[in-house]
Amino acid sequence: MKQRLRRIIRKEFIQALRDPRMRSMLFLPPLIQLMIFGYAASLDVDNAKIAWMDQDHTPESRDLLSEFQGSGRFILAGFPNNERAMQTMMDRGQVDAVIRVLPGFARDVKRGRTTSVQVLLDGTNSNTASIVSGFAGQCIARYSNRSMQGQQKAKLVSATESAEGPVTMAAPQVASSTRVWFNPDLRSRNYFIPGVVVNIITLVTLSLTAMAIVREKEIGTMEQLMVTPIRPSELIIGKTLPFVVVGVWDMLLVMAAALLVFHVPFRGNFWLLFGTTLLFLLTTLGAGLFISTVSKTQQQAMMATSLFFQPFFMLSGFTFPIRNMPQLAQWLTWLNPVRYFMEIVRGVFLQGAGIQALWPQMVALAIFGVTILWLSVQRFHKQLE
């Protein structure tokens, strides 16, 4: 028994690692994925491109412009001087927003009349648009405050000069001081990269397990395996163990890159993460095994993998917060093991969470893992008989 098991494990390792191209498959895709994800996956709006359309041409409007320039959040991408030029810039997506100062702006400001500055947003990317809108609103509010105080000071000076006695009429300012926890610089990379770790482990172990088993069926070597004295359970262990190793290896590799290249903070316990990864692998290997029992060809296995993987991945809270989902979808995510692993990985990385905070997720993962693996093994057995 022990010997047979060792043999089959050896065979599987040789089969999985023999081809040099296959070997490179084990570390190149995870690293490339991490690099692209790490650098590309960001919802931050660092430098919004704006066009400045000044139809007033006064010191006041230039003052407002310098407020925008000084904020460090905008890049001025152009100065259209007519509607058509502005329209084209927006249509081509060259700018995220156009700030338009209408004629009469300075006059209204000087007379103390309430006036407005147009902010025309490209709403195509709704997320960027709402962030840019916030930034622009802040700049305009700052300018408004400044010009208001300037006027007030002038009034006060003239009031004092006209000897009506000292006037103490300073308006109270209420400011906000914001403190951000866990991710003080609000770097979305810190939020996304732990998620990428989850994504890579899931995809690699799920698809490799499913396809490796179906491959034997498709090219007909499964029959050969069946005539050997190997028992089904030994076959399953032999088939899945290499991918446990691959999964753990990918986790370590991606984690090392996340810490060394992207400097994502790691505040929790490494062994906790290691243990939950093993727990999570029960689920992915079980699901891979399951897909292999319902597929006859690798193409079917792959289509099934991608059909399964997408919903689980999207509903895990990776990019799209679970809180924003409709109630029904939020309930559905309770059935999604990837969600629990995502919460654990992010908790361990960013919040330094320990077992006392994460045990519910770990219990859920264990239940899912054992159930899925057990069901798949049953199905696999039946199919072999």
């Binding site: 927006m90 309430t114 947003l121 709704s126 709402s130 007030q152 491959r215 690798q298 099934a304 991608s306």
Partner: protein, 375 residues
């Protein structure tokens, strides 16, 4: 290039597709599942931010400020607490994303016309939500601050000159993220289908040993590539139509531009995407590797580097340069342009030209790769 031979290959490939109803069903289900999830469940819109309030001041002034938060649809005040501890615990449990702490001397300072501060505590783990929440919260505080100034200034005989931002949103006035995502999803779905189906078609023949038989027929490499491509083109086009119809009629994404232009440009893109799949497939003789490679060079870039969710302008320079070689990026602009902005050929011709050139190059290399195997 012989029409009859190409047609024969296409027919053979079509039979393969039709005789594997499971794969076909999966291929046709894919756009439905993705659209359903993206269109219905996923959203980046931030509202009803779970908020805790810790009001140390307990004065009419502080309650006025809290009313500002209550009145905004962006905040949902979960609880008013009387210490920092419950806030700590709630943030740890993710029950709360923002806490507004009003200091004890809040009303006193306002009475004395002294500047005062309100503390905002944010859970920054999800930086995007946090940044948006921060913007909204600061706006509420700023509005309150401004509201304080008005009576004082009027009193001093000063007419307040405030400058407001008059925000108008073009193309997507309600800032619905489904309008942003669904047109992009069409692009991603095409790429998935091409990567999944296209990348296996040649590798499978090698693995099953039928490639030799194919090579012994008089069909030339280019005919082989075109025949295989056209069979999968039908599947891809069906997927695309499903995606378009569901997007427009179920999710009510506005289609402002020309339908014909959209269909034509989608076909060009689909051709290029399938060509890439077949090229990858011809390079690897194992389905497993072809699939991995296909995912890596077609699906991932289409998802990540095309501006689908993450805008290209924010990426580091190197990645921006890499994204120039991702065809999905150009088609993404075309699809969104036609859908949301109603753009026509006069603005999109350059992107279309790039897509045509790309399709040509990829097809050439796919055929050449097949030829190398023949030799």
């Amino acid at each position: 290039m012989n029409y009859r031979r190409t047609k024969a290959i296409a027919r053979k490939e079509m039979l393969h597709i039709l005789r594997d109803p499971r794969s076909l069903t999966a291929a046709l289900m894919q756009p439905l599942v993705m659209l359903l999830i993206f269109g219905w469940a996923l959203s980046l819109d931030v509202d009803r931010i779970p908020t805790f309030v810790y009001d140390m001041s307990q004065t009419p002034e502080s309650r006025e400020l809290i009313r500002g938060f209550r009145g905004s649809r962006y905040f949902a005040i979960q609880e008013e607490v009387h210490a920092y501890r419950p806030i700590d615990q709630a943030i740890d449990k993710r029950a709360c994303l923002l806490a507004v702490v009003i200091p004890e001397d809040f009303a006193k300072n306002i009475g004395l016309k002294q500047p005062t501060r309100v503390q905002l505590l944010l859970d920054g783990s999800d930086s995007n939500t946090a940044a948006i929440a921060q913007g909204y919260a600061e706006a509420v505080v700023a509005a309150y601050s401004q509201q304080l100034q008005v009576p004082i200034q009027t009193q001093s005989g000063n007419i307040p000159a405030t400058v407001n931002a008059d925000v108008r949103v073009w193309y997507n006035p309600d800032l619905l993220s489904s309008n942003f995502i669904v047109p992009g999803l069409v692009v991603v779905i095409v790429m998935i289908i091409a990567a999944n189906l296209g990348s296996l078609t040649v590798a499978r023949e090698w693995e099953n040993g039928t490639m030799e038989q194919l090579l012994s027929t008089p069909a030339r490499p280019a005919e082989l590539a075109l025949g295989k491509l056209s069979a999968y083109f039908v599947v891809g086009a069906a997927d695309m139509l499903i995606a378009l119809i569901v997007g427009v009629f179920i999710f009510h994404v506005p289609l402002k531009g020309s339908v014909t232009l959209l269909l034509v440009s989608s076909s060009i893109f689909l051709f290029g995407a399938l060509g890439l799949g077949i090229m990858v497939s011809a390079m690897f003789r194992s389905q497993l590797m072809a699939y991995q490679m296909g995912t890596l060079i077609s699906f991932l870039p289409a998802f990540l580097l095309s501006g689908f969710i993450y805008s290209i302008g924010n990426m580091p320079r190197v990645i921006q340069i890499v994204s120039l070689f991702v065809p999905a990026r150009y088609f993404m602009e075309v699809a969104r342009g036609i859908f949301l902005k109603g753009l026509g050929v006069e603005l999109l011709w350059f992107n279309l030209l790039l897509l045509i050139v790309y399709a040509g190059i990829v097809f050439y290399f796919a055929a050449r790769k097949l030829r190398q195997k023949v030799a």
